[in-house]
Symmetry: C2
Amino acid sequence: MEPITLKDIANALNISVTTVSKALRGYIDVGASTKKAVLKMAKEMNYTPNTVAVNLRTQQTKTIGVIIPSIVHQFFSNVMDGIINEAEKHGYLVITLQSNEKLEFEKKQLHLLQQKRVDGILMSLSNETYQFDHINELLQNKMPIVLFDKIGKLVKCSKVIIDDQSAAYNAVSYLIEKGYKRIAHFRGSLQPQNSIDRFLGYKKALIDHGIKFDSSLVYLCDNNDDFNDGYTNAKKLVNEHQDVDAIFAITDVVAVGILKYFNENNIKIPEDIAVFGFSDWFMSSVVTPTLSSVVQPGFEMGRKATEILIEEIKLEHKKIPYSFQKIVLPTSLVIRKST
Amino acid sequence: MEPITLKDIANALNISVTTVSKALRGYIDVGASTKKAVLKMAKEMNYTPNTVAVNLRTQQTKTIGVIIPSIVHQFFSNVMDGIINEAEKHGYLVITLQSNEKLEFEKKQLHLLQQKRVDGILMSLSNETYQFDHINELLQNKMPIVLFDKIGKLVKCSKVIIDDQSAAYNAVSYLIEKGYKRIAHFRGSLQPQNSIDRFLGYKKALIDHGIKFDSSLVYLCDNNDDFNDGYTNAKKLVNEHQDVDAIFAITDVVAVGILKYFNENNIKIPEDIAVFGFSDWFMSSVVTPTLSSVVQPGFEMGRKATEILIEEIKLEHKKIPYSFQKIVLPTSLVIRKST
DNA sequence: TTGTAAGCGTTATCAC
DNA sequence: GTGATAACGCTTACAA
């Protein structure tokens, strides 16, 4: 059975397509009785508007595209939850694509979304993204884009982030105030802004508390395999620095990798070494020992980014100029047994 | 800057839109030199085809819709990963919607996807879905639909599942063979087929091994809050049945809730009570004790379901009749420290 | 209050 | 080998 069109209804009622369209969309200049008849017939025939035709006509797809590094990360699935919910509230549908932390894929996905004529794009950059031509080009073409979490400082568009630097600062300060003196940092890749910021927060906290920064205590986790990065670097650290008494990890998954190595090797947490994570994944509350972490509001980040994006889409559509927003969402620390 | 259209290229070259379209799409009946010129100009002007117009013309959107209960579940994000990857391989984009385990939402989302004119739909049913009119209606309208994981046995369409009953059977048999004698089951809601099947597998394993089935050992977890369901029912079980020596849980999250209660109350796992989970989430390998579980291939399930769906979309489009498939993906047990 | 006609950007048919 | 022309289903000036 082919889908019912306006024409079918018009024919059935012996009126024009225009009138049917108007009646269905609640125009005032349609006779009460015709309106009623149209509504009834539409229901009877089980009419559903052809969105594609509407899209072509109105030059809007009521669809937004999302590019994230990977959906199989609790943080990002929380974000997606926020995005999908908020979008739906405004009548938008969401197309999801993954970059797998590759710039090349990110470019390709962006291109796909452009072709698809989505009304706007939400994205969190890949670890490889440290130049932004592909994004700037779309921006110049008036495509509303909102960056979240992993952003490019130099990109001129709205952003929704947390203050990674101060979140890290707070976590490390907490460790110091708790009495830990020799604190290592398991950092992320070198390019991403949030990886840099967390590192800077770590460093600043040390210095502000009169602890000398020692670069040999910074371990790099950049194999896109957080858990094993944590595990193997923990092993390395134990061999290289017996005096370390705490670790601030870039991610909960890294931290859990550390926990695993320590547990296997009878290194007591937090007595021998304390561990602090970042993101507060669900599992952090159930591992042993439970993991102290930075609470990062994924759902709200997705929600807010979507809200801003849809606002910009509407303004863009009405040719009303607007200025970019930078929202910094609050974070907090959750202290558990690992520190 | 407005997007470039075929017309723009045609004008620039002083030829017809038709010829441009043909040249771009590799038709044979187009002069070599014109073809070359068109390709060059298209590139120069940075032309990208307007998918919406193509969609309207070809009556295909190259888009598939997905409805899952909740994206914030590791199993489903694995599935999504598989879906998105496979779809992209075939040039399809994916729109994701959540039912939040509510039939009402499921219906609404299905309706949205229908309006959006997606080419096909992938879905995993909500816990409340035990009648299928909304799905059957679409099926009658020739919309290809593939159900996965949480299916309706009575729905006539292709399905990709695991054999929940035998997976549960294997898990419980393992427990019995390991020497556990009084085995409880923390089951899921009453309606979902996989919840029923896991229960039946549990029951059958008991009976086949000469253990009497005792319905008072079956605890219901249906608050859509697996972790706390596991936690509170564990408490209840300890009070009601001191002799239970193992629990087979419907889900890893339920199992982790159990673990938590036992750990807090100094009940030794597996010495006092063993715990077996289902799904093998990442966290199961890092909790204490590590959790034995049933390995459920989420990524592959999403991938396979998508493959079948796209096949059916193509056949449907060519009006070639096809028969529905039922794919049963293999599962396995991963034995860890909790049993 | 209702209808005509144009147009959104493409593709497909058919004539030249 | 090339190009009018119609059509996909809808919205919207504008006319009646």
